[in-house]
């Protein structure tokens, strides 16, 4: 076999594997769009559910998911970023910090239902926030925290050491160095972590099951201590708990969930590409 032929076979194999990954994803998206598109009416997006959720709209679930994701990111991004800064810039490299890093990476793999139980015990029970947006957003925030910490730490670590040396050597303090010579260049990577976090927070059902999600609550929340409906849980309810739901309502809900995640990601991606375009080293 000539090297050229080997290369050809290798490229073909890689292409096929890539296709094998992409095709199912595309199929799912196509099916959801095809089945869900007929449900997309103004009424569906802006009205309360009616007739035991078989008709009407899904507005409370849309609003609920939006609040939950926003709350989770507002909680987890600053906390995760500051933790990552401490771990990357201040803490020394010893067995304890290595253990903590390992623990955080492992936390990212903990099943979401465990986070749900954790949220139920801590936020709903111990702190007595009740089943509320506040509890749910915090639970989702805790769940995406490891992703944000890990990706932020890696983004900070990828900023050349020479930038720090230059800044320090110009008389800047360590904090100034982090703020002006490190953090701006780590933002794209930090936002990548945030994007992954948004996707997870919007899509998970288990963490909100015990902490916030309402089975059927056809009104908008008035405060962060109210319960809300949320899209993933609503979808689960429509699919398994309510008999005789029109398929287009289910697929329509799935489509809206998909669109919201995409929309939120899009904002983060736009910010990221702006910062990436300025990164030139």
């Amino acid at each position: 076999m000539t090297p050229k032929l080997t290369q050809r076979i290798a490229f073909s194999a890689l292409f096929l594997i890539t296709a094998a990954v992409i095709v199912p994803v595309l199929t799912v998206i196509v099916i959801i769009i095809r089945e869900g598109a007929p449900a997309m009416t103004w009424e569906f997006l802006t009205q309360m559910p009616r007739s035991g959720m078989r008709a009407g709209g899904i507005l409370p679930a849309i609003v609920g998911t939006f609040y939950l994701v926003l709350g989770a990111v507002l909680f987890a991004l600053p906390l995760g970023l500051f933790a990552a800064i401490y771990m990357s810039e201040y803490s020394k490299d010893n067995w304890l910090t290595r253990l903590i890093r390992l623990a955080i990476i492992n936390l990212a793999g903990v099943p979401s239902v465990v986070f749900g139980l954790f949220g139920l015990a801590l936020f709903v029970g111990f702190f007595k926030f009740g089943a509320s947006i506040f509890s749910g957003a915090l639970t989702l925030g805790v769940m995406i925290l490891p992703v944000i910490i890990t990706s932020s730490r890696e983004a900070l670590g990828a900023v050349p050491k020479s930038f720090r040396e230059v800044s320090i050597s110009l008389g800047a303090t360590k904090l100034q160095t982090i703020k002006y010579a490190v953090l701006p260049h780590a933002l794209p990577g930090i936002l990548t972590g945030t994007i992954l976090g948004i996707g997870r927070a919007a899509g998970e059902t288990a963490p909100i099951l015990f902490t916030v999600a309402a089975f059927y609550l056809p009104r908008l929340p008035e405060s962060v201590f109210d319960q809300v409906m949320a899209l993933p849980y609503h979808l689960y309810v429509l699919s398994t708990q309510v008999p005789n739901v029109d398929a287009k309502v289910r697929y329509g809900t799935a489509l809206v969930l998909l669109a919201i995640v995409l929309l939120m990601n899009l904002v983060a991606i736009l910010i990221r590409s702006y910062y990436r375009s300025r990164k030139k080293w």
Binding site: D93, F163, A172, H185, K280, W281
Partner: protein, 251 residues
């Protein structure tokens, strides 16, 4: 001659390994001290000890004393940030920060809290003039610094250091990545700068040491072998190892 920096029995080690052993040097004000020696001779470690840049490494341990204007810079109460304002450094590879030329030059002053746009502009102009870069850069201040040529980037780094208002400037093989013409411009700048600044130049290029140095120190395996007026050291070195190095028999 006024002594600007006095290094007294300085030893530096990283973990187990010694990088510098019992070094004693007086660095004279407003002159250029060149430091030569083969790889791993400790010359860069020596340079980075003078503005405590080695502090950034976890495992470093420094013994001995370094007096800047009579004050021990490794004393507990000595402010390392203040030290680095007084003792600037130019690295081997130019490291422009990913920002405009202007923002690079005023990085130091901005961190000291200078906000006035006019003041910053005049600091930048003066620093760029002193680094022989103003004529090339005066219309390009808003360009990305990363787009400049290597030689321009290194002079930008010099301007950036000058803008902080140092008293001593350390050069760590500043021309190792530059072509002869850019090297010439940097050397010209250095010879001009020594009127006002104390300069320590680490170089792998013995010819460069001979060209710009007033005094030259020869390091070998972490020890200071010999120090003397540059002319004397190059024409009649006292130590055989210096002679061997200068005539290219090792290193």
């Amino acid at each position: 001659m006024v002594t600007k920096i006095s290094v007294k029995s300085l030893s530096v080690s990283f973990g187990e390994a010694y990088s510098l052993k019992d070094v004693n040097i007086d660095i004279e004000a407003r002159r250029i001290l060149t430091v030569i020696g083969p790889a791993n001779s400790g010359k860069t470690t020596f340079l980075r000890t003078l503005n405590r840049l080695n502090d950034l490494e976890d495992s470093v341990s420094v013994t001995g004393r370094i007096l800047l204007d009579g004050q021990d810079i490794y004393h507990r109460d000595y402010d390392a940030n203040l030290l680095r304002k007084k003792v600037g450094i130019i690295f081997a590879l130019p490291v422009p920060l990913p920002a405009t030329v202007f923002e690079n030059v005023v990085y130091g002053p901005r961190r000291q809290g200078v906000r006035d746009r006019k003041k910053l502009a005049s600091i930048a102009e003066e620093a760029l003039k002193d680094a022989y870069l103003w004529d090339e850069m005066k219309d390009r201040l808003d360009e990305q610094a990363m787009k400049l040529s290597g030689g321009q980037q290194q002079r930008l780094c010099i301007a950036r250091t000058l803008a902080v208002g140092p008293e001593v400037i350390l050069f760590d093989e500043p021309c190792s990545a530059l072509d002869p013409i850019s090297t010439g411009k940097i050397e010209e700048a250095m010879s001009e700068l020594k009127q006002r600044y104390t300069i320590v130049l680490v170089t792998n290029n013995t010819k460069q040491a001979a060209r710009v140095g007033d005094k030259t120190a020869f390091f070998l395996m972490g020890e200071l072998v010999e120090i003397g007026e540059t002319g004397g050291l190059f024409t009649s070195p006292q130590d055989k190892r210096t002679d061997d190095y200068l005539s290219g028999r090792f290193g």
